[in-house]
Subunit: 361 residues, 2 copies
C-alpha cells in the first residue's frame, strides 16, 4: 500500500482534534482511501473532491461520511471500482449512458461533461444515465456546468424510499432532488439544489445526533401521525414532500425524467438493492443561442443585486440560491470542516483497515 | 359585423342562466369577440380555445374572464391583433422568438410548435420568446406537446409583481409559473402546471368573490403581517412563494429562464406596462433518444398505477398531476362552465359593444 507521507502525517496529527478537519487533508485522505480500494488516482481524487466539496459547502449529509458508506458498497460489490460508464445511444444533442455500476461520481462527471460539450457544440443537450450509483450532491455537477458558461438542470431519482406521495401513507419515493445552476458574472454561480422532501434525510441525522426535536410538518411516524421525533423515519415513518402538492409534482418529475426516461429502476424499492441507486437526467442550455453569455451574466448579476436590495423581514435575510453554500465554504476553508466524533472515528478506522496508517513503502 | 347565427342564438338564450354556460357556446362567442377586434378566424378561435380549456379544467383564473381583459389590452394598444411573431435567431435545436406583442397565445403556439418540431427532428430543443403578451394557462402548451409524444418543460416570468422573495418584504416577482408534461399511454398526459407563489392570484379572486377568509400562510398585508383577508394583496400586501425557500428558488429559475435568458423585461415592474407581459422559455425532449416513446409511456403508466394504489391519508386522495383537471373537464363538458354573474355580465356587455347581439348582415 502506497501512502502519501503528507497524508499520513496529517492523519496522525489531526486525529487528536475530533471536530475541525482541514479540507485539503480530507481530500488527500479520501483520495488514498478510494485508491486503496482500486480506483485510479484520478477517479479516487474526483470522488473525494465531490464529497469534500459537499462538506465544505455545509451539505454534511452528502459529505466525507460517504468515504465509509461508499467503501461498504465497494466491499458489497455494488460499486464496481474499475467499471467505465459508456454511451449506449447517442445523437448530436443527446446521450444515454450505461453507468455499469461504476462509482456514481465517475458516471455523473462523464454525463455532465458530455452535456456541456454537446451544448457548446449544438446549443442544447439532454443526457441520461442508468445503472448508476449514488452520485453525491447533484449541485456539484450543475455548478460545474455553470462555470463553463452553460445553464444546467438536473433531475435525479433516488432508489431508497423515504418520502410519501402527497395525500398518501407510507414511504414511496426517494428524496428525488433537482438542481438548476446558471452562470453569473460577479458572484459564484446561481445554484439551487434540493430534495423534493420537506428536508433531506441528512437534516434528520443532524437532529438525531443532537437529540433535537423536528418540526411536525417534516415527517409522519409509523402510526401515520405527525411527529417531532427525528428517529421516527428510521422506525417505520416517512418524510413528506415539500410544499404540499407542488413539491409532490416535482418529486414525480424527478422520477419520470431521472428514472423512467433513462430506464433506471423506478418506483419504491423496498429491498434497497443496489443501495441508493440514482437515475440521472441533465439538460444543458447554451445562452449563446439566446441573449448571449455576456448579456445573460450581466442581467443575472443585475437581478441578483435587485433581489439582494429587498428589505428583509425582521429576523430574516434575503439570500440568493447558492449564497449560504458560498458563505459556509469560505468559513470552512479557513476553520476546517466540523465532523462529529463518530464519523471521524469511522473514517480513521477505515483508513487503518486499508493500511493507510502505516508507511508501507 | 359578421355574427355566426348559432352564437347569437346561444348568447341570447343562455344569458338568462348566469351560472352554467356550455363550453361550445363560450368558444364560439370568444371566437366572435376576438374576430370582431381584428384577429383572424384561426387566431381568434385559438385564443378563445385556450381560455375555454382553462375554464373547463377548473382554472377559472385563466379562463373566459380574459375575453374582457384581453379586449381591454387590445383597446389599450398592448395587444397587436395582426402582429406575427417571428424567429430572430435560430439553430437546428433552438429559436429565439420576438413576439412583437401579438396575442400571447399566438406567440406561445408558435413557440411550442417550433419546440416540438425541433425535438422531433433533433431529439431536444429549447425555445424562448420576448415581447410576448400574457399566454394564458401554460399547461395548455406543455400538454399539447405531450400529446405529440414530446416531454415539455415551460418556465414563464410574469410582469405583474405580486409575490415577495423568501425572507423579504413587499411584492417583487410575478407568480412566475412552471409546467412539465409527459406523454402517457392509458391516461391523459401527466401535467404539472403551477404558480411559484403559495397560490395563484386567481385563488384570491375566488375567495374575494365568496367573501371567504384565506389561510394565513398565503399572504402578507401592507403592514407586513400575515393576513386572512383576500383583499389584502390588492391593498398593498403580497403573496408568499410556495414551500419557503424551495419555491423561492423556482420563482428565480422561472425569472432567469423565462426573462433573463430570452431578453424579456425582468425584475419588478411597478408600472405594469405592458400589463402581464410574459417571458417564455420551453424545453422539449424526445423520448426516442432515451428509452423510446413506447417504453416511456408504458413505464409512466405503470408508475402512475403504483402511485394511485398508495393507501390515502384519511380524508385525502392520492391524485396524479393533471387528474383534478381531467375530472373537472369531464364534469364541465357535461354540466357547463360555472361563471359568476359579474364575469358573465362583463362578457355579454363586451359582446354587445362589439355588435355581436345584432344580426348585422
Amino acid at each position: 500500500m502506497l501512502l502519501c507521507p503528507h497524508t499520513f502525517i496529517l492523519l496522525a496529527s489531526l486525529s487528536i482534534d475530533m471536530f475541525l478537519q482541514p479540507a485539503d487533508m480530507l481530500l488527500k485522505l479520501g483520495t488514498e482511501i478510494f485508491k486503496a480500494q482500486g480506483l485510479t488516482q484520478e477517479k479516487a481524487k474526483f470522488v473525494a473532491e465531490t464529497l469534500v466539496e459537499a462538506s465544505l459547502t455545509g451539505h454534511d449529509s452528502h459529505g466525507v461520511q460517504y468515504y465509509v458508506t461508499y467503501s461498504d458498497r465497494i466491499k458489497g460489490g455494488h460499486i464496481q471500482v474499475d467499471a467505465e460508464p459508456r454511451i449506449v445511444q447517442e445523437t448530436a444533442t443527446t446521450a444515454l449512458i450505461d453507468g455499469r455500476w461504476a462509482p456514481g461520481q465517475v458516471t455523473a462527471k462523464y454525463l455532465v461533461e458530455a452535456a456541456v460539450r454537446k451544448a457548446k457544440e449544438n446549443m442544447v443537450s439532454a443526457i441520461g444515465a442508468f445503472n448508476c450509483n449514488h452520485i453525491g450532491r447533484i449541485g456539484f455537477y450543475t455548478d460545474w456546468a455553470a462555470r463553463q458558461g452553460i445553464i444546467a438542470l438536473m433531475f435525479v431519482n433516488v432508489g431508497t424510499p423515504s418520502v410519501s406521495v402527497f395525500g398518501g401513507l407510507g414511504k414511496f419515493f426517494g428524496t428525488n432532488p433537482l438542481s438548476v445552476a446558471v452562470p453569473t458574472g460577479e458572484t459564484e454561480p446561481f445554484l439551487t439544489d434540493y430534495a423534493t422532501s420537506v428536508v433531506a434525510d441528512g437534516k434528520l441525522s443532524v437532529a438525531r445526533a443532537k437529540n433535537a426535536k423536528i418540526p411536525t410538518h417534516w415527517a409522519r411516524d409509523s402510526d401515520n401521525n405527525p411527529t417531532d421525533d427525528p428517529f421516527a423515519v428510521k422506525e417505520g415513518g416517512w418524510l413528506l414532500p415539500f410544499g404540499l402538492y407542488k413539491g409532490y409534482c416535482l418529486q414525480l418529475v424527478s422520477e419520470l425524467l431521472g428514472a423512467v426516461l433513462t430506464g433506471s429502476r423506478t418506483g419504491p424499492n423496498p429491498n434497497r438493492i443496489p443501495p441508493s441507486a440514482n437515475g440521472v437526467f441533465a439538460i444543458a442550455i447554451n445562452p449563446e443561442a439566446f441573449v448571449g453569455l455576456d448579456n445573460f451574466k450581466r442581467n443575472t448579476d443585475q437581478l441578483i443585486a435587485q433581489v439582494k436590495a429587498v428589505e428583509p423581514e425582521p429576523g430574516n435575510k434575503v439570500l440568493i440560491p447558492g449564497e449560504p453554500e458560498w458563505e459556509t465554504k469560505e468559513k470552512r476553508m479557513k476553520e476546517g470542516i466540523p465532523l462529529p466524533e463518530e464519523i471521524w472515528d469511522s473514517i480513521v478506522k477505515l483508513a487503518k483497515e486499508l493500511g493507510l496508517d502505516q508507511d508501507s513503502r
